[in-house]
């Protein structure tokens, strides 16, 4: 079976707000695909459209070859969907939840143990606990189990790691890698740029548009400018000073440091140092660094805004 997702010119708007603007996207069978973008980029809307929960304004999409609007019944049989908000029955225990979803799909837990075993062993100790009383990471693992219980061909995960601690996050991604090896096409939406590196291909999204579509390394490679990281005592003042610099191309705050690119290709770092010194900032640490996905996203999103 060819578990592809192909999206053609898909648009969706809520009243005056257009949430998706003519999206085109092809996801290969068995791919671990990431939709990366901030809140409001249109990730959830895209997922709900693919999950046949919303109707598009225009355009079309097909999952496993089934047309999204007309053949929605078929899609609902082969799709595993995990909404962004924890959507299991909080008053039911872990086991009862899993049992319920198994019966809904006309199957049994035992028949699908192979699929969920790796995840199930982690939550099994809590199987008699009400789902509402689980920790954030456990909830997500249970939700993933419930979404997998019917052996879906395509798995849509909407921000599965939001609100989950760092350890559980990496465990979660480990599980996705394991699932991928079973041949499921997995589409993950996440606002965390660092998770992009864990996907095979990613689409960077903003304001309902796809800014870039490539493998994480491809996206990073497309970052053409030299990137510098600045660190100073007064980070905020540093940011203001760099913004006021006449040759600034982009400057963004990254935690304790400031990432900077210059408009000139052949620019000399000492000029900038002198400039900062003249502004009274003597002790600035400057390093040239390799760009990350987030830098790429920032650059693309800036480019996108300028074009408009």
């Amino acid at each position: 079976m060819n578990s592809t997702v192909s999206i053609n010119n898909l648009s969706k708007s809520y009243g005056d707000v257009s949430a998706l603007k003519e999206i085109n996207l092809n996801i290969k069978s068995g791919e671990l695909f990431g939709l990366i973008g901030p809140d409001g980029a249109g990730k959830t809307t895209l997922f709900r459209l693919l999950a046949t929960l919303l109707l598009p304004d225009s355009g079309s999409a097909a999952l496993c070859g089934f047309e999204m609007v007309k053949e929605y019944r078929h899609i609902r049989n082969i799709l595993g969907y995990m909404p962004g908000k924890f959507s299991l029955y909080q008053d039911l225990t872990v086991l009862e939840n899993l049992n319920f979803f198994a019966t809904v799909f006309n199957t049994r837990i035992e028949d699908n143990m192979d699929m969920i075993r790796d995840i199930w062993v982690q939550i099994e100790p809590f199987k008699d606990r009400p789902a509402g009383k689980l920790s954030g990471g456990m909830k997500q693992k249970l939700a993933l189990c419930c979404a997998l219980i019917h052996q879906p061909k395509i798995l849509l995960l909407d921000e599965p790691t939001t609100g989950v601690d760092a350890v559980s996050r990496s465990e979660f991604w480990q599980m996705l890698k394991g699932l991928k090896s079973k041949g499921i096409t997995i589409v993950v939406a996440t606002p965390y740029m660092d998770e992009a590196n864990l996907c095979e291909r990613v689409a960077l999204m903003q304001s309902g548009e796809i800014l870039s579509l490539d493998s994480p390394s491809g996206i990073i490679a497309s970052f053409e400018k030299d990137l510098y990281s600045f660190e100073a005592k007064d980070t905020y003042q540093l940011l203001l000073n760099l913004r006021a610099y006449p040759f600034v191309n982009s400057v963004f705050l990254f935690g304790q440091s400031v990432h900077y690119t210059d408009v000139r290709d052949d620019f000399v770092l000492s000029d900038l140092k002198d400039y900062l010194k003249s502004k009274g900032q003597d002790h600035v640490e400057i390093k040239q660094i390799a760009a990350g996905i987030e830098d790429c996203f920032m650059a693309l999103s800036q480019q996108n805004t300028v074009q408009k």
């Binding site: 929960l53 109707l55 049989n77 959507s87 299991l88 029955y89 008053d91 049992n99 019966t103 799909f105």
Partner: protein, 368 residues
């Protein structure tokens, strides 16, 4: 079928694990019935009254005796004059004053015509007119007794018999009314809330993405409440019969069949409400205001419909409990068969079909 049973199991877990649902389901019918049956009663008992006796003769004291021995009234004060009445009523304890004219006895015997005056506190109009009626009844009885054996020229003597409720027990009226209210509440409110909860918690999203059909979801939601409401109907009729002595004169099977029909109607109304509300709050408010108040006020449960202004009477026609109350009163109190209630039954069937049609049409297979 396995899917359906799985769904049912889940619904029962929800109901039995939620204390609030359990309380509404099983606590409320019993509490309401006891409350209406024992506490809120329109029957007179020991109404405090005072007397202004300007005559003070054997007739007046005999009349006062008759009144106090009836059990309906209790003499608490003897006043010297009319002037004190105003103050007495303002204090609020005493509701009724009986005034005998001077020389009451003499006039009664010689002139064969004596007057008493009844003064009452009409700030509670229904009770006031009820008290006056009872008091007049006692006076009339006394009159008859005195005149027994004498030839009284052309007098109409009335003999009253209260059909279907000989002792005028108000609980006869409350049991059908409470049955309608409770079934409406449990069925409509609980289903609408439980569907709205799935929407609110986001679980509806998952149910929709699953291969479950809308009809399967609706049936799964409705069946537990159909079952529980039916138990409630049995409990109410049973309590009415064993605790309050409200009879079921007609066919018990017919009564239960009509109750089932009404429950179905309320359930379909509940589903309809849930299709237009996105949160439990909205569903609850809609059920409370759109169902509870009309059920209590406009169904003829407490307030007689024929005394209402015409617009309200017209509105009352679309209030389903109105028809259900007519049906169960007929069956329980009058022992009527189906031939007397088929019209009302037909109306309920029509309403049920209407609501089911509307809900199926409005139930969304998607999120919008």
């Amino acid at each position: 079928m396995k899917r359906f049973i799985g769904f049912l199991k889940k619904e029962f877990y929800h109901i039995f694990r939620d204390k609030r649902s359990m309380l509404i389901l099983f606590g409320m019918p019993i509490v309401q019935l006891l409350l209406f049956g024992f506490v809120i009663t329109n029957d007179l008992k020991d109404v405090k009254m005072a007397v202004v006796d300007h005559s003070k003769d054997e007739y007046t004291s005999e009349i006062i005796n008759k009144i106090t021995s009836s059990g309906y009234f209790k003499l608490v004060k003897s006043l010297d004059g009319i002037a004190q009445v105003d103050e007495l009523f303002r204090k609020g304890e005493t509701k009724l004053v009986l005034v005998f004219e001077p020389d009451f006895g003499k006039n009664f015997i010689k002139g064969s015509k004596a007057s008493v005056q009844i003064l009452t506190d009409a700030s509670e109009p229904n009770m006031a007119s009820l008290e006056v009626n009872y008091l007049q009844g006692i006076l009339q009885n006394y009159n008859l007794e005195i005149n027994r054996g004498k030839i009284v020229p052309s007098q109409i003597s009335t003999q009253t018999r209260m059909y279907f409720n000989p002792n005028m027990e108000s609980v006869y009226m409350f049991v059908p009314g409470i049955m309608a209210t409770i079934l409406m509440l449990v069925s409509a409110m609980m289903t609408s809330i439980s569907i709205a909860r799935e929407k609110e918690m986001g679980t509806m999203e998952i149910l929709l993405v699953s291969p479950l059909r809308p009809l399967q979801i609706i049936l799964g939601k409705v069946t537990p409440y159909l079952f529980l409401s039916f138990i409630n109907a049995l409990v109410i009729v049973g309590m009415g019969y064993f605790v309050f002595g409200v009879p079921v004169l007609g066919s018990f099977a017919l009564l239960m069949a009509e109750s089932l029909l009404f429950i179905l109607m309320a359930l379909s109304l509940g589903i309809f409400i849930s299709t237009v509300s996105d949160s439990q709050q909205v569903a609850m408010m809609l059920s409370m205001f759109a169902l509870m108040l009309p059920t209590i006020l406009l169904s003829g449960f407490i307030f007689p419909l024929r005394n209402m202004p015409v617009p309200l009477q017209i509105i009352s026609h679309i209030i389903p409990p109105r028809w259900f109350i007519i049906i169960i009163k007929n069956i329980m109190l009058k022992g009527s068969g189906f031939e007397f209630v088929w019209k009302e039954t037909l109306i309920l069937i029509g309403m049920t079909a209407g609501f089911i049609g509307l809900s199926v049409k409005k139930f969304k297979i998607r999120l919008e």
